[in-house]
Symmetry: C2
Subunit: 428 residues, 2 copies
């Protein structure tokens, strides 16, 4: 039996530094909980000469990641460089060398997760991916293990901290997107190029991983309908409030009638729902299972130590498995499933039109909606503005996306409608 | 290797029925996730002739729980009868027969958890206790596994649904305790004898279990300072709101300076904190770890299916361990620790006095507080009432419990103070 567990780490950036800090600071506790000491044996870095935030013996660093992956002493390879290549090649090589892997690489898992899991299964090694979704929130383990006896019905995630920070500020301070984004960039809550976050792609990648775990369904993130928050106006947040809703960028997955729905878009959620109360850079994932009912996990979705905590949790699970002599469990492939096209999704919708303030406009618009089987639940028509456009805001009953899109094509053609109509999907 | 996992269940009440329903309804999914079919082999019930909510083959039921515990076919004994005896004897016998155990018995674990875990450790069997705290919320697994690399700093739990339901109604509808309790009893949210819930004992038992898992500290629930919500008045909830707080019955545990603090009492928490937003019968546990930061788990703390979900999760963990050939991990005993006495706890305090509305009263009271090193942060003195008593409400800076209690002794002796002073502890 091993006298200790030896980690080979690839990458020593924010998360890697967090992992090192935790392993050192809590070494005693980790040894006790894992049943064995856990130590970092090798770390591959791009620049050997760079000064590091943590002290390291000189022989720990390696300039070539292949040295780490091929090192016979290494039990677990922890990949923290991100991106598709060479991360994928390194992980597959580690697996074929019989090493367990832990990765925080959401982009790679969202695209090639199925392939990597299958390689790990065939090699009989563990693949820990907790850190790839929602940082310090243990949603992967909860879905895989705690709720393993549940049929998962739906998942609603606030899993992009940048977007949630911006929407929270826009909501609480009635400010425009561009203005808040600018502030968020200066505060370090948004990247210089924020498009990956505010465009919804980051959330879509994480959702692809969650769908795989919750439904055993392999869906690439580019097949997930994705709409970001860049076009959101404070005006619509305000009208949403009047209807009793709060606007969030949600990653949504549902199982229904043998199909899976997966989508990322700005969403109006009821004020009283727990997910409506998740503000700022925090992340949260609400899970509905047929047995557990609704469950929400809330916490820090990013950062050196929170994400490091997830990596260390996986490392310790694998360490325990090594100590207790557990083989990796061969998981049976799930039943095939269909992904529901966005057109076939049905929801209530929030619609805003800027229409000339003259008689007959409401009747024209509601006539078109009616012909497309869209019925109106609530409506707000704002004050008179001589000769100008005024907002006409409609909350619909449940309607089919395809019908709504078709109705919008017709409504755009009306001469009384002056701007591009606004559509926001609603979850109850 | 086993062809299936055989469960012996003791008790077929609310939770037992939930477990059976889940195992049947999701049998396929459970077989796939556990890597093996999971089946209930025997169920001990008190009354063999009673009609059951689920259909059972006649040879499954046993009138004597000992038959289940001694049945050589049984791999896992699931104990769902609660109480100290015969539950304890049955569990220890199951363990000495080499069977893994799963239990939802919070009373027993809060008193004798250390003894039961030690017996399981020596016998090399698993003890699953997820269902003993907070129903469908997987707090045990998250603390034990996901956060195993964290030093846990504090835990704040809303873990008694009845009390939270009552406090929520009192807060939102400005109603008296007795009135809401009466309604809760009629709605089935409170027992005919509610004292175990509203007196805080139920929360204290669950906290004892959490303290054991989070800090490796064995503390019996009768050593936990416990104050219920029966004396809470809507008046104080209102004043709390004015100061920016919401009143919750919290179970609190903290590690500080090598000591553990553990207490259950009505607590004013900041309006903006996530735990302040947990309403109705829902439970939530906020955990602060040195790496993960703050994390909150929110969900259904009771009920047939949610608690059944926790039992099934444990059963599946053990089933996987059996399939993968994992031995139970011998856990090293934690370092000894001291429990901080309530007198040595320091907090901000909310204090309300009913005092005669005459000059000099505030000076007398603040003089006493000052002599006991209690400084006032905020104060509200309510309207004039000729010759009668008016509320004087004080929010203190952090003060020592011992000092506050001593000050109250002196203040009670003042002739200008007409009622028993109200003290509510505050968490920031």
């Amino acid at each position: 039996m091993n006298e200790k567990i030896r980690i080979g780490m690839i990458g020593l950036g924010t998360v890697g530094t967090g992992v090192l800090r935790i392993l050192r600071q809590n070494a005693d506790l980790i040894r006790r909980h894992a049943g064995i000491p856990v130590d970092v044996e090798r770390i591959a870095v791009r620049d050997l000469s760079r000064r590091r935030a943590v002290d390291l013996p000189p022989d720990v660093l390696a300039g070539d990641a292949m040295q780490v992956v091929d090192d016979p002493r290494v039990d677990i390879v922890v990949e923290l460089i991100g991106g598709y290549s060479p991360a994928k090649e390194l992980l597959l090589r580690a697996i074929s060398n019989g090493k367990h892997i832990v990765t925080a690489n959401k982009a790679l898992l969202a695209r090639d997760g199925a392939e990597i899991f299958e390689a790990a299964r065939q090699a009989g090694v563990y693949a820990g991916i907790e850190a790839s979704v929602a940082g310090g929130i243990p949603v992967v383990k909860v879905l895989k293990e705690s709720l393993a006896g549940n049929r998962i019905l739906s998942i609603y995630g606030i899993i992009n901290g940048t977007s949630n920070y911006i929407l929270t500020k826009m909501t609480d301070e009635d400010r425009e997107f561009a203005d808040v984004l600018d502030e968020a960039q200066r505060a370090g809550y948004a990247e210089a190029d924020p498009s990956f976050d505010v465009g919804g792609l980051d959330a879509a990648q994480k959702l692809a991983i969650l769908v795989n775990i919750a439904f055993g369904a392999s869906i690439s993130s580019d097949r997930i309908f994705t709409e970001g928050i860049t076009a959101i106006r404070p005006l619509d947040i305000e009208f949403g409030k009047e209807f009793g809703y709060r606007l969030k960028l949600l990653a949504i997955a549902k199982a229904a009638d043998g199909e899976i729905e997966a989508r990322v878009h700005p969403t109006l959620v009821p004020d009283a729902s727990p997910i409506a109360k998740v503000d700022g850079v925090y992340n949260a994932i609400q899970i509905v299972g047929d047995a557990c009912g609704d469950l929400m996990l809330y916490g820090r979705g990013a950062g050196s130590l929170p994400t490091g905590s997830a990596v260390v949790g996986d490392v310790m699970d694998i360490s325990r498995a090594i100590v207790t002599g557990a083989s990796a469990l061969p998981v049976e492939a799930p039943a095939p499933f269909a992904v529901r096209s966005m057109e076939a999704v049905s929801r209530p919708y929030y619609l805003r039109f800027m229409a000339l303030d003259r008689p007959g406009v409401l009747s024209q618009i509601s006539g078109i909606l009616g012909r497309w089987n869209i019925s109106i639940e609530k409506m707000i028509q704002r004050g008179r503005k001589e000769g100008g456009s005024v907002p006409l805001v409609i909350m619909t009953h449940t309607a089919l996306e395809r019908d709504v899109q078709n109705a919008l094509v017709e409504i755009r053609g009306l001469t009384c409608v002056s701007e591009e109509p606004v559509l926001i999907r609603v979850e109850e």
